[in-house]
Symmetry: C2
Subunit: 405 residues, 2 copies
Amino acid sequence: MNIVVLKFGGTSVADIPKIKNIALKIKLEVEQGNKVIVVVSAMSGVTNNLIDLVKNTSDIPPYSEYDTVISTGEQITSALLAIALEKISIKARSWLGWQIPIVTDKTHGKSVIEKIKVDNISKDLEINQVAIVSGFQGVSSENRITTLGRGGSDTTAVAMAASFLAVRCDIYTDVDGVYTTDPRIVKSAKKLDIITYEEMLELASQGAKVLQTRSVALAMKYDVNLRVLSSFEDLPGTSIVKEEKNMEKSEISGIAHSLNEAKITLHGVPDQPGQAAEIFGTLAQHSINVDMIVQSSSINHEVTDITFTIPETDLIIAEKEIKELQKKISFNKFTSDTNVVKISVVGNAMRTQSGIAKTMFETLAGNQINIHVISTSEIKISVLISSDYYELAMRSLHSAFGLDV
Amino acid sequence: MNIVVLKFGGTSVADIPKIKNIALKIKLEVEQGNKVIVVVSAMSGVTNNLIDLVKNTSDIPPYSEYDTVISTGEQITSALLAIALEKISIKARSWLGWQIPIVTDKTHGKSVIEKIKVDNISKDLEINQVAIVSGFQGVSSENRITTLGRGGSDTTAVAMAASFLAVRCDIYTDVDGVYTTDPRIVKSAKKLDIITYEEMLELASQGAKVLQTRSVALAMKYDVNLRVLSSFEDLPGTSIVKEEKNMEKSEISGIAHSLNEAKITLHGVPDQPGQAAEIFGTLAQHSINVDMIVQSSSINHEVTDITFTIPETDLIIAEKEIKELQKKISFNKFTSDTNVVKISVVGNAMRTQSGIAKTMFETLAGNQINIHVISTSEIKISVLISSDYYELAMRSLHSAFGLDV
């Protein structure tokens, strides 16, 4: 069976005319002889409205109930799309997470998929019935509805593609592919025809919002033939592949930025073993992801400064926990700064080509942009800078790495 | 265990402040030592919006998908109420139809409950956790979501009360009980403290919209201690009981009216056996409920006229089928009239007291109101009249039967 998975995001199913338009796109796939699994998000705006309902009820909702509320958005879209397909004589039915089932762990609000049963949907595919899967949701071993976190429908789509050994997994969205950088900030941003899983993974985790990071990691793990393309225009999009075919391309694939950053510095931390473990252990206990970390070299081997970044949305709770920590660790004081942006340059070629860090730092220095923190991976360099300069930084880096042409 | 079932309708959970208010009401029940099962409707307006979404997608939606869409309203309310209860430190969790499960047949859109599993919720009740049940929904043997028809949450509540042997089933709504007639039409309408199942059944099926007819029939069958009361005022409401305790009350309990009526007359039907069976069999095949029927006595034993009423909403399909029938039965012509209203007087005392029909017909005649069709049951007399006179008819009957005082 030639199984294809098609995923449509919130803007692609934003209203009934758009849902009917999607139905026509699916009809074409069916007519080409493909067995089609569709994954849908909630109609755009719906999930936010549902979250508001929950927040207005309680600031500390049980996440099992939170999931029960917000999973309804995808439930509605999947059934409406099945209705739209039946209307144009294409056999279809909706599948909720618990009906398939997509079994997850019990971490409500950001569950991890443990197992997908293929038997039920396979029977549908055999009789050429389109399976419309509600994205973003699963069911726990306790029979409660779970959700996979914001953007989780991408993960649903990739997981379905992996489980059903789909020949391709097409992510339809409101942009026509993955760009070298955010086109709203850098006018000369170019669409990429192709990008490797690892590059996409870095771009996604560094703030490019085209795909949920987890979905890219999953696609890489199971070698899913992933594509990002526009649901409004008939364009080829961007393919996400195992290895870069085009060796002639510029060394950098893209430049990402993240505004949701807060910098925290602990001043005068005793320079003794175990201090860092105490600090970051406490933050981890509260599910706060620490990203960049830098420790100043201790001059007199007595005290040091530790600077790190966390999501700005976690700052209030982090500050509370750090205040508590002062009872255990006698650092002098701590400061925080939310007026920072992380800029990352990503490229698979970094593995083999040197000089990229040099180009990056020179370019920023040439524009009088001060670097607060630096972090690197095999295929990425990230810098934290003042948010006043982030557009300038992105434009000048885009140009310096030859991405404008 | 002292189990109580509380049902809250759409206006009682219309917004977050109202949901929080309901939570306080439930808290009182818990504090009195009761084990509480709550059944909730969708927030008012939500179900209609969902139906509009479906209708805008297709005029012939598969009802399995229709149910998947419209059941989300109750799903949201049940989880929000659980959140509101947890917020005030009352243990609670939401239960969807498929989680309990409430197993129904496969008649999507108007399913019948076959079985309710009590084990899962019983465990909750044992640890004093409030069970918040999504009304109106169930699950079929095919694991698809089903719904019980408009007003189906009443039926969910009564079915839960019957299955859990609840000591009472309180239906909270936006009126403070059952009235002798519609207070919007007859200013002197009085609230009834008590009414029998059978009277309530007749009133509900004759157009009084306080309770879904099916729920009353179910309460009668399982002897559920049913009460209708206001969620906004602290008043005793109306109890629906097996036998009338107060023998002194006036013979008539209430006067109902139904505007959703259409009258059809088939003129010159051959006066031969099997003609009526042919006509009503055809309508039954299309799920059209025929209510009042009258056949004129045939003068020359050759032809007769047959008049009957159906819901006005079924008129278009009925007219189409009757036109088809003319190929089989050679009646002269048919006429239809939607400018009619059915008025019913209901009272358990009719079983033993005569003269009620006489009072009814005299009252209408005294006001120059012509009667088109009459039908009766043991405890009810219904007449079909021109809709021009229905308010006058209701007021004068309310007065004639001594209900004003």
